[in-house]
Amino acid sequence: MKKRILIGLGSLLVIFLMGSLIAVFYITRTTERMDRLILLHQVEILREDLIIHVQQVQSHILRDRVRSSGDVDLLVAQVQEMDRVMDSCMGCHHTPELAQGLSSMRDMANDYKSAISGLITVSANPARVAALERRVQDIGQELIAMTQGMAFTANVRLQQKTEETMATIREVRLVLSATLLIGFLLAVVTAWVLARSLDRVLRALLDATRRIARGDLQHRVDITDSKGSEFRELGEAFNTMTHNLQQSRRQLVQSAKLAAIGELAANIAYEVNNPLTGVLGYAGLLLKSDDIPAEKKEQLKTIERETLRAREILKNLLDFARRKPPHLERTTVTGLIESTLELVRGQARLSNVTLRIECPQGLPDVAVDRDEIKQVFLNLINNALFAMPSGGDLTIRASCRRESIGQDTVAVEFRDSGIGIPEDQLDKIFDPFFTTRIEGEGTGLGLSISYMIVQNHGGIIEVESTVGEGSTFRVLLPAGRT
């Protein structure tokens, strides 16, 4: 999403930049044209200036015949001014045609100057003076005509340039308006796309939150964003949270159930134990008496045996209900697994089950009641073997997880390739007396007791199962705590 927002903002920036560039380009073009136009106007003023100056010189020569020093000074100043204006004309860049015109104008001006010099320098011969004066006037008139001709050409060009510039300004106005409009539309579209994708994800999350609040812990959000996107990560974190919540709730319910059932069982066991003691005592007495025929004694033995079995069940119940605090000692899970396996290897071979043990070196120690944890492992292995009536694989894997800083958890995983547990039974497997075995083969207390033992060690048992593929029981124990 971050990427998308960045791309969105980036494209907005690009649109803005492009718009600005277009604007700057067109404004520059327009100002250049305007500058050129202004320059042309200035040139036009220069030409008019030039005409005025040549006319001044002409009228000066015509008016009086340049007698006094003041006259000469004024004439020289006027010609110099004319020259300066012409120099500024020549200083600009011109088309070759115009440059040629200016060049011949300059030549003519030089002729004019030399004619004026000749007129001023001559000191005798009135006829020659008159001829020189005529020559000066003729060249002057020609110069004026030429300048006017050029001014006319320039005027035509000026008009043409003005029209061109006006056309450019109109074009610029159009382009800038279009740029503004397109930029605005593109920005709106970008913003809408961004908002829409945000909205979709937020709605999915909101919907999921509501469903979970209603208790639907099975619900998972599905965010099909590109891999690595923040929303996808958020969705995954959300799903993990829901999963953990489901697990916690299951454990909580389990604990409550066990506590209630335990209390009930203890009461029943206590109440039933007393009469059973009587039954057992009298059965014993009868068995010791000699006046009981042998076939009756067999029946009495059955009574005694079944009563003893009932008492064993009661004892288990009492064990379950009145858990003693575990006797903790530091040990390795690897050692516990090994010593448990010694008890089940034979049975596994008989059941055609391959055992795989994966215990890496360097696992932290655990502080546990060895007998109790061995009982848990034994129970889980037995259950696994039972779930694989026609053989299979049982993988026992130990690993270490770091839950939070300074707190490691040792996990022992029992993965079988058995029949698996249906989803609807997963919540019940830790309940006392819940069993899938045929009556008489199990009490349904094994997992309940295992659960209680692990819970008393500050750990938990997790279960994952897929019908037809197998089940995984995971015993999580805090590392190194005594």
């Binding site: 000469v72 000749g118 001023i120």
Partner: protein, 309 residues
Amino acid sequence: MASWAPTFLIVLLAVSVFPSVGCDRWKPERRPGESFAQQQLLIGLIPEQNIFRQRERYQFLGDYLSRRLGVKVIFTSLSSYGNVIEHFTTEKMDGAFFGSFTYALARRQLGVEPVARPVNPDGTTTYHGYLFARRDSGIRNVAGLRGKRFAFVDRATTAGYLFPLAYFRGQGVRVHPEAFVKEALFYGSHDAAILAVLNREADAGAAKNTIYDQMARENSRIGKELVILATSGVVPENCLAVRKDLDPKLRSALRQALVAMDRDAEGEEALKRFGARGFIETNDRDYAYLYSLAAEAGLDFKTYRYQSR
């Protein structure tokens, strides 16, 4: 402290330097011990072939002298058409760069004092007159000039009038030369007189050597078609002379400034732009030949009433 100190120094420096730089051109530096009552000098110029170039050249000289003297030097053009001497007086000029003939007139009639004259780039400070004729005219001496058309320049030139006058007299012509020839033509400028002979408007003429030689370099026809009959002695080139009542201190300061011009870099630069090597001191004795020429021609500068026509 450290950060603003350099800025402050730069500003201080700029403030202290700027006015002296900015006003250099307009506020002439005054040399210690010299100050003149007069605030400006109006100097006349006799027009040359290109008056516009002439004004530019003399402007460099004027700027330099203004700075040196602490007196603003302004130039004005003396129209050569008309009475130069009269204009000099009526227009209240303090001095002028006179030609040799007009100097002699001004000296004799107004008492002007010569100051200095430029040394040409080729090292010359004088010129002389030529008397020439068309090679194909057959004119080789004064006898051949009788009944021919003669091109003078102007009645106020040494080479173009005084020298041929003296030549005719020296060759034994007793009548006025203007009457001796069939037609006395006045062309108003040296180049016009030379061109008139070259183009057969006249059979012979007189002009100054500098113009003649320059034209001969540019136009090979002159060397081929014209022949020089006589050459005068040398007379000083354009010379700056000032009115007789000008403050003598200012006059001598002016002379000193001009003569010493080639000895400082600024002056050298101004000279380069002006188009001269330097200036040499000039006094009335330098015109001895001119005065003798006038005497030979029977022309008295004191009483000569010149009116160009």
